[in-house]
Symmetry: C2
Subunit: 199 residues, 2 copies
DNA sequence: CGAGTGATTGACTTAGATCAATGACCGTGG
DNA sequence: CCACGGTCATTGATCTAAGTCAATCACTCG
């Protein structure tokens, strides 16, 4: 997860927190962006309303995620941001941020590098979703996220299931099957990949 | 799709094209990045090899796409890039690009804005993949990509099926069903959303 | 005029979603 | 201190939507 360590102190100092109740809007399509947001707690969804009047969700941002970064470079939001749960947001003034980028080469570069890394990570996740089989999807996830053959699971398995685009039941079953076959070993919060198992 | 119009002429001038045969490597994990690549034709996959010796694909880049942007800010590739088909790549020297960003505020900002837009687009695609039902997935796609109620299909429907994470058969059937219900009207290369159909 | 590919539809199969139930583990408030 | 409500983890049974295999038709391109 991005640590936002590229944020210069000058901008951090001017951050303001804002709380939203469920269903409350942070901004609406067409509003002029004055801030750049980071989700501290809760969940906020970005959505549009289609011609048939239905809401189309573009993204759901959770804690640690950042919101509508493209709006930093445009003068109107192109979607609504609405709290899906009670939520706390950290608002960084857009002007201060842009000014900092102008002055501070490191800050601008840090921001760009963060985005570049995000792009690559997101593409990897999409690639993962192209895998139909639950087993191979899990294998792909494990292979991509392993450090020296060990995957550390942050959060609950239910969350992981969501990230993988599986139901939690499917994930439990798949993990159980892999463990049964000796492909992995499970411990609290960590999964060890056993190398050399027959494919 | 990104037009790369933020690329300053100074960098464009120093671009060099390179052709790869199927299976040929553009770069390998650990190599020092000297260029930033754009796919002109063909397909190139980014992948790693896991502990069990299997290749894990991180991303497949097609024409117009850009490769390993994060490597601009790191001094070693963290994956291999291998041509999946015969391919043509455009290489922009990393040093020239970075230098241009230092001098030319507009260029740096353009690059960052492009990345920001990509991040949002990719997140929307992931959101779409969270939708299980083929019908709703197609509906989501149409709603997100419609301009004034009309979606222009670029490329073949098979390609679109791939982008949606569906088999082409499933897509054909779903589209036929939506057309039958009067939800959409199809013409060559375009799909018209009919508003006011009952949900 | 074939050969190759996209578009389309049918029949069949299956993997994974859904519904459901149970046990383990908290935290918490009386 | 413990009983209770909540969530996670896990497993079983069932069902269905989408994948797979297959065939046909319309094109386009040398």
């Amino acid at each position: 997860m991005p640590k936002h360590d590229w944020l210069p102190a000058s901008v951090r100092a001017r951050a303001a927190d804002r709380k939203l109740k469920t269903g409350e809007a942070l901004f609406r399509q067409g509003d002029r962006p004055v801030s750049f947001f980071e989700v501290i707690a809760g969940r906020v969804r970005l959505s549009r309303v289609d011609r048939a009047g239905r809401e189309v969700v573009l993204h759901v941002a959770g804690p640690g995620e950042t919101l509508a970064e493209a709006s930093l470079y445009s003068d109107a939001y192109h979607c609504d941001a609405i709290a899906s749960t009670a939520a706390t947001l950290r608002a960084y003034p857009k002007a201060a941020l842009l000014a900092a980028f102008g002055k501070d080469r490191k800050a601008a570069q840090g921001f760009t590098a963060t985005l570049a890394r995000q792009v690559m990570g997101l593409r990897t996740r999409i690639e993962q979703r192209n895998i139909r089989s639950a087993r191979d999807r899990v294998r792909h996830y494990l292979a991509v996220n392993a450090e020296a053959g060990v995957v550390t699971v942050r959060g609950t398995l239910k969350d992981l299931a969501g990230e993988l685009g599986l139901t939690h039941e499917a994930l439990y079953r798949t993990m159980a099957a892999l463990a049964r076959k000796g492909e992995i070993k499970r411990g609290r919060g960590r999964i060890v990949l056993m190398r050399g198992h027959k494919v």
